[in-house]
């Protein structure tokens, strides 16, 4: 197979390119190499698919874990003086250990341990699950603290009002406290989503071909790091900007009850 070089690319290139300055020719060549040659844009597309799957999976898992941990922690902390539920006490300690360990170690290290020591996946699908679970558990710790701040931001009077109408603890949480808490934590939760999306780039260390890994693969083929890596940055940036916009719209919707 003939390797593609600038000179043999120029032979096949349209005339208008030949009349451009040399630096620009070089840049166009690298762009061609990165995206068009051998349909490499599909590498990015496949990588993005993995990135999105991992992000969404980890996000859902993180929110579920986070909410559960936050509810245990707030329920425990809002107990009256002198009255302690022993089950809640044990759960609370477990949650605290979880938070300490996950927030106290780097995500990279967590990925390495979970995928090379604990789960040791044998195929691509196994790696994918391993990545989702690890990032989900990691994100859950941060979501837990965000959700806890949201639950604590709702005045005790709201819980009392719900309970005084005969709603039980769970229903009051579901219909009164949590909807208000979500509104308050949306900016922080959006921040966590964005962090999570970017942190999925770490899954390349566990053999997952996410968009970062694909960019590295292209560089390994072309020996030209500039265009693939800058393109990669632009791809992340665009996704984050879109996400920020969507969150802004959602936030405005939820603020409907605040207009006077």
């Amino acid at each position: 197979m003939v390797t593609l070089t600038l000179s043999n690319w120029l032979e096949t290139a349209p005339d208008w390119i030949l009349s451009l300055p040399e630096n620009l020719q070089r840049l166009l060549f690298q762009l061609y190499q990165t995206f068009i040659y051998q349909d490499r844009w599909t590498w990015f597309a496949q990588g993005l698919r993995i990135t999105f799957i991992v992000t969404i999976g980890a996000l859902i898992l993180g929110i579920i874990i986070g909410l559960l941990v936050a509810m245990v922690r707030t329920a425990h902390d809002s107990q009256r003086m002198g009255k302690h539920n022993p089950v809640l006490g044990v759960l609370n300690v477990l949650c605290k250990v979880y938070l300490a360990v996950i927030r106290g170690t780097p995500m990279m290290v967590q990925l390495l341990i979970s995928c090379f020591v604990i789960m040791v996946p044998k195929d691509d699908f196994g790696s994918l699950i391993c990545g989702i679970v690890t990032l989900g558990i990691n994100s859950g710790a941060y979501v837990a603290e965000i959700a806890r701040s949201g639950l604590m931001s709702i005045s005790a009077g709201q819980m009392e009002a719900g309970r005084s109408l005969g709603l039980n603890y769970g229903k009051t949480m579901r219909y009164i406290i949590i909807p208000q808490a979500i509104k308050n934590i949306l900016p922080a939760l959006g921040n966590e989503m964005i962090t999570l999306l970017k942190d999925t780039s770490l899954v390349s260390v566990i053999m997952l071909r996410d968009v970062t890994k694909q960019a590295q693969n292209i560089v390994a083929n072309t020996y030209q790091p500039f265009v693939p890596y800058v393109s990669l940055a632009v791809i992340y940036l665009v996704i984050v900007l879109i996400l920020t916009k969507l969150l802004g719209i959602l936030e405005r919707r939820l603020r409907a009850s605040d207009r006077r």
Partner: protein, 240 residues
């Protein structure tokens, strides 16, 4: 209807209620007054177990509600409560505030609850506010909605915890007016308040609490014109 026996409540080392005994009949309008820190709000909040008593019994309609086997959520459906800070649900419209409990507890269908909400809003004089959010209403309007919300559960007794204390002076009247109408309709009411005029006019019995106990009680006329306990005399001389 409500029987309170030797009710004690402590917060840590601080004993707030020191063995309160009281009996409230159906149809009575009991007004509780007293200096701050006397335990009157705590007493009221114990009646529907928003505060859990340290010891003592509360019997409501023949059921001991302090017993572990009693489902307090079922009891609370029969006891409406109105708070000093209104505590409306800010993320819901007025209509949704009123409908939430009856619908989610499957006592009414959506349509029934809707009709009931409109009917209650007319009763508190705010039929045009059904689709407003609480933040758009004045304090007095919010408190009237809070009363409507409590009434939506068709309670047997209404508990009022200083319902006018957080209001601007010009809004106190509209809330007291609604409460007076409620009293005239025969609702059993227990009201903690600083409104002596309301106590005199609407109350069938006035209790004076001080230092964690009920130190004097009487029908309103005698209560205000002929107080016996020195603490009550002192208190009335300051507030009247």
């Amino acid at each position: 209807m409500i029987d309170v026996k030797n009710l004690c409540k402590s917060f840590g080392d601080h004993q707030v209620l020191k063995g309160v005994n009281e009996h409230i009949e159906k149809g009575e309008k009991v007004v509780i007054i007293g200096p701050s820190g006397s335990g009157k709000s705590t007493f009221l909040r114990c009646l529907n177990l928003l505060e859990e008593p340290t010891s003592g019994d509360i019997i409501f309609e023949g059921q001991n509600i302090t017993s572990k086997v009693t489902d307090i959520n079922l009891i609370r459906r029969k006891m409406g409560m109105v708070f000093q800070q209104f505590n409306l649900f800010p993320h819901l419209t007025v209509r949704e505030n009123i409908k939430l409990a009856p619908v989610k507890l499957k006592i009414m269908t959506e349509d029934e609850a809707d009709k009931r909400a409109i009917q209650l809003l007319e009763r508190v004089g705010l039929p045009d506010k059904a689709d407003s959010y609480p933040v758009q209403l004045s304090g007095g309007q919010q408190q009237r909605i809070a009363i409507a919300r409590a009434l939506a559960m068709n309670p047997d007794v209404m508990l009022f915890d200083e319902p006018t204390s957080a209001l601007d002076p010009e809004m106190v009247g509209e809330v007291l007016e609604i409460m007076k109408e409620l009293a005239d309709d025969g609702m059993t009411m227990v009201v903690v308040t600083h409104e002596m005029g309301f106590a005199r006019e609407v109350g069938t019995r006035v209790l004076f609490m001080d230092g964690g106990n009920i130190v004097e009680q009487n029908e309103p006329h005698a209560f205000f014109t002929n107080p016996k306990h020195p603490r009550l005399k002192d208190f009335l001389s300051k507030v009247l």
